[in-house]
C-alpha cells in the first residue's frame, strides 16, 4: 500500500490502529502541496499551521479509540465556503481581503468530526465558469496534462485530488461545477439533490440551482463524505428535512435488475469519439452486471442551456448586488459619493465573466423584459423537470456522458462565451430538475480521463452511489493516477 493511502476508509483504519498519525499524514500532504502547487495552482490558501494543530487534536481524539471516520483526514474545500478566521475570496478580487467570520455548515460538519482542513481551493470567480480560467488567483492546470483545463468551476477541488494534494474535497455545483471537473480530472464527484446539503455559509451564485457536494478518489469515500455533510440545517430554509440514510450500508448492493435509461438526446453528434467509446463500454459493464438498459427520451434537453443562462444570471445579478464596498470586500473611490463608490468598487472587483453574467441577468430581470426572458425560462424549467419525471417513471437511473469532450486546452474557449457555456450541456439539465447525479471515471482519451454521469431520482443518492460502486468494483479506472500524482 502506498503512503499515505488514497482512500479515506483505508487511512482511517491506519490512523485508528496507530500505524500512522494524523500529524505525519498532514505533513505529507502539506509537503505535496508545496511541491506541486506551483504547477497546478489548485490551492488559493494553504493553512499549514491550523492544519497541524487540527491534526494534533485529531491524534489525541484517535488515541481515545473513539474517533469518527473523518477524524484526522486531510481535506480541502473550495474557496466559496466560509471558514472561520481564514480568507475566503471566491476566486474574486472583490473579496481579496475578506476573512470569514463564521463556518459554512457543510464544512462545520466535517470539522466537527475532526477532519483536517489543509486550505482553500481555486475556482472560477463566484463559481461562474467551466474551465477555472476565470479566477483572480489564476487558472488551475490539469494534473493529467498541465496545458489543459481542470474543468470548472470547482477546478481546484478536482485538480487537488488528482494531484494527491488532499484526500477529499468539497465543491459546489450550479450547472455541472462538481461533475465536469471531476470528469476532466478522473475523480468521483457528487451533486446531491437540491436541498440535501445545507448552503448556509456558501457564497451564493444562483440560489435555486446551487448545491454542495463531495469530490473523492473512490465512490465509498464520496458516500462517506456525503453522509457527513447532508441533512437539515435550520440556518438554510431550503435544506430539506428528510432523514439521511447510511450511504455506506448497502453500497455493495449491486445493480442486478436495476433499470438504467439512456437519454437519446445525450448521445449526439459532436460527442468526442473517445467519450462515446468509453461510455458505450460502461453501458456494457452495467449490462454484464445484470442491469437492464433501455432507451429513454428527455425531449427538452436542447433548451437547457438557454434556460439555465437566463435563470442563473438573473439570480446571480441579485445575489451579487451585495458586493458594493459597504460592509466587506473591495472599496474604491469613496470620495466621489456613494453611487460612484458602488460602481467603481464593482467595476474594479469583478472579472469579465462575472460582469457579463450580472449584465445578462440584470437585463433579463429588467422592466419590459422579465416576462419574455426570466419568466419564460422558469416555465421551460418546468418542462425540463417534467422530462425527468417522465423518464424516472420508466427507469431507476439515467446514464450519460458528463461532457461532450475531455479536458480542453487552456485558452481554447476563453474568447467565445457561448461555446464555453455549451460544454455544460449534459450537466445543466440536472440542476434545473433539482435531482442528484454523479461523475465517475470510466475511460481514457489518450492521456485524459473520461467521466461517466449517473443521474438518480430526487433524494435517491443511496441508489446512485450503489450503481457507481458496482461500476467501480468491476473496473480499475479509479486506480489510475495522474502523472503528477
Amino acid at each position: 500500500m502506498s503512503f499515505p493511502p488514497t482512500s479515506i476508509t483505508q487511512l482511517h483504519q491506519q490512523l485508528r490502529s496507530g500505524r500512522l498519525s494524523a500529524v505525519e499524514v498532514t505533513r505529507h500532504f502539506l509537503q505535496r502541496i508545496e511541491q506541486t502547487n506551483p504547477q497546478v495552482n489548485a490551492f488559493i490558501t494553504v493553512c499549514a499551521e491550523q492544519a497541524l494543530q487540527a491534526a494534533a487534536a485529531a491524534d489525541r481524539q484517535l488515541a481515545t479509540g473513539e474517533a469518527p471516520p473523518l477524524c484526522g483526514i486531510p481535506l480541502a474545500v473550495k474557496d466559496i465556503f466560509n471558514t472561520e478566521g481564514l480568507a475566503t475570496s471566491c476566486g474574486s478580487r472583490i473579496l481579496h481581503n475578506y476573512i470569514s467570520p463564521y463556518d459554512a455548515t457543510a464544512f462545520a460538519r466535517l470539522k466537527q468530526q475532526g477532519a483536517v482542513l489543509l486550505g482553500k481551493l481555486n475556482m472560477d470567480e463566484f463559481a461562474m465558469g467551466s474551465s477555472n480560467e476565470n479566477s483572480a488567483s489564476g487558472p488551475v492546470h490539469n494534473p493529467w496534462d498541465l496545458q489543459r483545463v481542470p474543468g470548472g468551476s470547482s477546478g481546484g477541488s478536482a485538480a487537488a485530488l488528482a494531484a494527491s494534494q488532499a484526500l477529499a474535497t468539497l465543491g459546489t455545483d450550479t450547472g455541472g461545477s462538481i461533475r465536469q471537473p471531476a470528469a476532466f480530472c478522473g475523480v468521483v464527484g457528487v451533486k446531491p439533490t437540491y436541498g440535501r446539503v445545507s448552503r448556509y455559509g456558501v457564497i451564493a451564485y444562483a440560489s435555486s440551482l446551487d448545491q454542495v457536494g463531495p469530490l473523492a478518489n473512490t465512490v465509498a469515500d464520496a458516500a462517506l463524505l456525503l453522509g457527513a455533510i447532508a441533512g437539515y440545517d435550520a440556518a438554510d430554509s431550503t435544506s430539506v428535512d428528510c432523514p439521511v440514510p447510511d450511504y455506506l450500508a448497502d453500497l455493495n448492493a449491486g445493480v442486478k435488475g436495476l433499470k438504467i435509461g439512456l437519454p437519446q438526446e445525450y448521445f449526439i453528434e459532436g460527442l468526442a469519439p473517445a467519450v462515446k467509446q468509453a461510455v458505450a463500454a460502461a453501458i456494457e459493464v452495467y449490462r454484464s452486471l445484470g442491469a437492464e438498459i433501455v432507451e429513454v427520451s428527455l425531449p427538452r434537453t436542447a433548451y437547457a442551456i438557454a434556460c439555465y443562462y437566463l435563470i442563473a444570471t438573473a439570480e446571480a445579478s441579485s445575489n451579487l448586488a451585495r458586493y458594493d464596498g459597504v460592509r466587506f470586500g473591495l472599496r474604491e473611490q469613496q470620495d466621489g459619493g456613494l453611487l460612484q463608490m458602488y460602481e467603481q468598487s464593482r467595476a474594479a472587483g469583478f472579472g469579465a465573466e462575472v460582469k457579463r453574467r450580472i449584465m445578462l441577468g440584470t437585463y433579463a430581470l429588467s422592466s419590459g423584459y422579465y416576462d419574455a426572458y426570466y419568466l419564460k425560462a422558469q416555465k421551460v424549467r418546468t418542462l425540463i423537470r417534467e422530462d425527468f419525471n417522465r423518464a424516472f417513471e420508466q427507469v431507476d437511473l439515467l446514464l450519460t456522458p458528463v461532457a461532450p469532450t475531455t479536458a480542453f486546452a487552456l485558452g481554447e474557449k476563453t474568447d467565445d462565451p457561448l461555446h464555453m457555456y455549451l460544454s455544460d450541456i449534459f450537466t445543466v439539465p440536472v440542476n434545473l430538475a433539482g435531482t442528484c447525479a454523479l461523475s465517475l471515471p470510466c475511460g481514457r482519451d489518450g492521456q485524459l480521463p473520461v467521466g461517466l454521469q449517473l443521474i438518480g431520482k430526487p433524494f435517491a443518492e443511496a441508489q446512485l452511489l450503489q450503481a457507481a460502486q458496482a461500476f467501480e468494483s468491476a473496473t480499475d479506472w479509479h486506480l489510475q493516477r495522474a502523472p503528477l500524482a
Binding site: S237, V326, G336, M341, A352, R356, M359, L375, P417
Partner: protein, 95 residues
C-alpha cells in the same frame, strides 16, 4: 440586433457597474449573441405552464419567534472597509 449599445449602458447603470468603453463594446456584441441564442426558448409553447422557482417544492419556512445567539457586532464589522464605533462608514449621502 437584439440589443443596442445605449441599452447596454443603461443595464450597466442598473447593475451599478462603471464599465469602460471597450467593455461596453464587447458586451454589446456578446449580449446580442447570447440573447439571440436564448430566443430558442420561444420554440416551446409554454401557455398555461406554471413557472418553477425552486426544484424542490417548498412552503414558507417558519420558525419560532425566539431570541437566539447571533454573530455579534464585532464579527459583523470585522471586514468593514471603514467603521466607526459600531457602524459601517459610507460616503455622505445627505447634504
Amino acid at each position: 440586433m437584439k440589443i443596442q449599445r445605449i441599452e447596454v449602458e443603461q443595464v450597466a447603470r442598473l447593475a451599478r457597474l462603471a464599465l469602460q468603453d471597450d467593455e461596453l463594446e464587447a458586451l454589446t456584441e456578446q449580449m446580442d449573441q447570447l440573447l439571440a441564442y436564448v430566443e430558442k426558448l420561444n420554440e416551446l409553447d409554454t401557455e398555461g405552464i406554471i413557472p418553477t422557482a425552486h426544484a424542490v417544492p417548498m412552503e414558507n419556512a417558519f420558525r419560532a419567534d425566539e431570541i437566539k445567539a447571533s454573530i455579534g457586532t464585532e464579527k459583523a464589522l470585522s471586514n468593514a472597509p471603514q467603521r466607526e464605533e459600531s457602524c459601517f462608514v459610507v460616503p455622505k449621502v445627505i447634504e
